[in-house]
Subunit: 362 residues, 2 copies
C-alpha cells in the first residue's frame, strides 16, 4: 500500500503542462512552469516538484495566483532591478527575473534582482543554474511561509528560506549549493511522516520551544529550527542566514517578510495586515570574466573540486561530497528510469486530474 | 594569576599604531590597521584584535607581510573589480578594497571586489560596516588557514571562512550578521583552552574524524567542524558555505584556496606549490536606493527588527537576539570602561614592545 510507482518524465511533463494551460497560463509560461516544477522531481527534491501541483491550483482557485501576470521592472540601475511579479506563479516570475539579472551582468559585470508580489518558486537550483551556461555564478533565494523559530523564540517568524549558489567549472560538473537555512527542510519531515519515523533531536521544537522528535509537531504549533540546532552549536547563525534571505528577498523588494509572508496552503488566509506584496525572491548573476578570464577560473575550479572530492575520508565513508553531486546523480537515474511518486501523491494527482478534466492516466 | 586587566582603548590604540609605524607602514595605513584591529577588541571579538598584533609582526619579520604595499585594481567592470593587495596587511587591503566596492555601487548600483595577495583582515564586520553610512548593504568574506574538515573528511581543507552582511535600518541599529561558517570559531576554543574546560560535542573532531571535546585537538591533527556539527544536522550546509567563501574570495580573485591557503602563524611555511597569491577576500556593497527608496527600506527594516526583537521567548530566555546587538552592547561598555586583556596577551604585548623598542607600559 505504501509502494511507490515510477512514472516517465515525459508523461508527468505533459500532465503538468496541461494543468497549467487549463489554469489559463499562456503556453510559454506553462512550458516554463512545467520545466521548473519537474526539475525538482528530476533532482530528487520531491517536496518541491509535482507533489505541489495541486497546491498551486488551489492558490489559483483562491485567486491568489494570477495565471497570466504582467511581470515588470519597477525600478532599476545598471546592476540592479526590482521586479513586480503581478501575483504570478513563482515558477514563471523567478526565471524571468533571473533572465534580467543575467542581462544586467552582461553589461555591468553583475546583476541583482529583488522580486516582490510573487509566489512559491519551486527549487532555487533551477533559477541559479540558469547562470551557468553564460559562464556566470548564479544566486537564488526566496522567503517562504513562516515555520521556523529564531533562536530562543517560540514564535514562527521565518520560512526555510533557501540559499542557492551555482558556480561553473571546466571539465568538472558545476558546484551547486542549494540549502534550506534550517537544520532540515520541510521535505525531510514529510518523508518521516510517511514512514512513521521519529525525527532526530535538533530539527524541531514544540510550541513551548522544547526539543521534540515528533515529525507532526508543526501541526501542533511547533517549529523548525535554524541550521545549528541550538545556540551552543550556532543556531543563531542559521537564524541569521534565514533573516538575511528574508531581508534581501522582501524588505529590499517590497514583498511581505517574516510572519507576514502569506502561507503556501490555500486553506490558510494571508495576514490581514500585509507589509508588502506577495512573497519575495532575490536573484543574482556574476559574470566570471568581470573578475578574471573564465577559462582560467574554470581550471582552478576543476582543481578545487578535484582536491576536495579526493580528500581522505573518515572510516565508513567513501567520499567527500561536492555540492550538486547527489542531485546530478539522481537526475541521470530519473531521466532514464522515471520518477517514483508516493501513492498519496498519485491519489492527489488523480483527484486533481478529475477536477480539472485532464485525466491522470499515465 | 589568570586575572584580566583592563586597558584604556586610547592606550592600546597608541601602542598598536606605534608598532605598525615601526614595521614601516605609512601613517595612513598604520592608522587604518589600528582602527580595524581595535574594532575587534571593542566589539568583544578578542581573538581577532590586539591579541594578534605580535602575529602580524612575526609575519612581517618573515617577509610575508609588505608594510608599504601598492594596492591596485588589476581588472574591473562597472560593478566589479579584482584587487591585488601586494602582500600588504589585510587590515589595510580590505578596507581599501571595500572603498572601491562602495564607489562602484555609487555608479552601478552594486560593487563587488575580489581580493588576492592579501593577509588576515581582522574582523569581517569592520569592512562590511563601512557600507552602512552610505545607505548600502555591506558584505565581507575571507578565506583563512585550513583548520576545518569538510563533512566526512579527516583532512583540513577550509578555514573558518566568515561571512558578514550588514544592513542599515532607520531608528533601529543596523543588522550585522558576522559569522564563522563553522559550529564554533577558533576564538571560542582559545577561551576554553585558557579556562581548561572541555568543548561541547559537535565543535571538534580528532585526526581520525571521531567526536572530541578536547579544545587542544587541533594541535594533534584534529579539525573544526562546519556549522551543523554532523551530516544529520546539516554540516554539509556549513561546509558548503565555507566552500562558497573560499571560492568567491580566492578562485575568483587568483588567491590561494583550500589547503593551499598560507597559515597565519609565521613558524609554519606556506605550501611550496601555491595555486595563487596570498589569501583572498570578497567584499560587496549594494546601494539600497538602487532597489527602493532608502527611507522606505529603513522604515521596513525598523519594523522587521522590532517584530523579531519582541518575539515571544522560550522559558528561561529573555529576548530574541538581533544580529549585531551583542557586539554593539559590548562596544559601548568597552569604550567607557576599557578593554580587558588576558594575562598571556599582556605578556605577549610586553615582549613585543621590548623587541620593537616601544615599551608596553600602560
Amino acid at each position: 500500500m505504501n509502494q511507490e510507482h515510477t512514472f516517465k518524465v515525459e508523461a508527468l511533463d505533459a500532465f503538468t503542462y496541461d494543468i497549467f494551460i487549463k489554469m489559463g497560463c499562456p503556453a510559454d509560461h506553462a512550458r516554463l512552469a512545467t520545466d521548473v516544477l519537474l526539475a525538482a522531481d528530476l533532482r530528487g527534491i520531491d517536496s518541491h516538484g509535482i507533489a505541489r501541483l495541486s497546491g498551486y491550483v488551489r492558490l489559483w482557485e483562491a485567486k491568489r495566483i494570477n495565471p497570466n501576470p504582467k511581470i515588470r521592472v519597477v525600478h532599476e540601475s545598471p546592476s540592479t532591478a526590482v521586479v513586480d511579479g503581478d501575483s504570478g506563479l513563482g515558477l514563471v516570475v523567478a526565471p524571468k527575473a533571473m533572465e534580467i539579472a543575467i542581462n544586467k551582468a552582461k553589461g555591468a559585470g553583475t546583476g541583482w534582482v529583488a522580486v516582490r508580489n510573487s509566489n512559491h518558486f519551486g527549487i532555487a537550483g533551477y533559477h541559479a543554474m540558469m547562470a551557468l551556461k553564460h559562464d556566470m555564478i548564479g544566486w537564488a533565494m526566496t522567503n517562504a511561509s513562516p515555520l521556523v523559530s529564531p533562536t530562543f523564540s517560540v514564535e514562527r517568524l521565518l520560512g526555510t528560506n533557501p540559499i542557492c549558489v551555482t558556480i561553473p567549472a571546466g571539465k568538472q560538473p558545476p558546484f551547486v549549493l542549494d540549502m534550506a537555512t534550517t537544520t532540515a527542510a520541510n521535505g525531510k519531515l514529510e518523508i518521516l511522516q510517511r514512514k512513521n519515523k521519529e525525527a532526530p533531536l535538533g530539527w524541531i521544537q514544540t510550541h513551548e520551544g522544547k526539543p521534540s522528535t515528533n515529525p507532526h509537531e508543526l501541526k501542533e504549533g511547533g517549529a523548525l529550527i535554524p541550521l545549528g540546532s541550538d545556540y551552543e552549536h550556532g543556531s543563531h547563525k542559521g537564524y541569521g542566514l534565514g533573516a538575511l534571505v528574508d531581508i534581501l528577498s522582501a524588505v529590499l523588494s517590497g514583498a511581505n517578510y517574516g510572519p507576514w509572508v502569506p502561507p503556501f496552503v490555500a486553506f490558510l488566509q494571508p495576514p490581514a495586515d500585509p507589509v508588502g506584496k506577495g512573497i519575495g525572491h532575490f536573484l543574482g548573476a556574476m559574470r566570471i570574466d568581470a573578475f578574471r578570464p573564465a577559462s582560467e577560473f574554470k581550471e582552478h575550479m576543476d582543481k578545487w573540486i578535484t582536491r576536495f572530492r579526493s580528500a581522505k575520508t573518515m572510516e565508513g565513508q567513501d567520499r567527500v561530497l561536492i555540492h550538486g553531486d547527489p542531485e546530478r546523480e539522481i537526475s541521470v537515474q530519473r531521466k532514464e528510469y522515471g520518477i517514483p511518486l508516493n501513492p498519496k501523491v498519485v491519489d492527489d494527482l488523480n483527484d486533481l486530474g478529475i477536477k480539472m478534466g485532464i485525466p491522470f492516466k499515465i
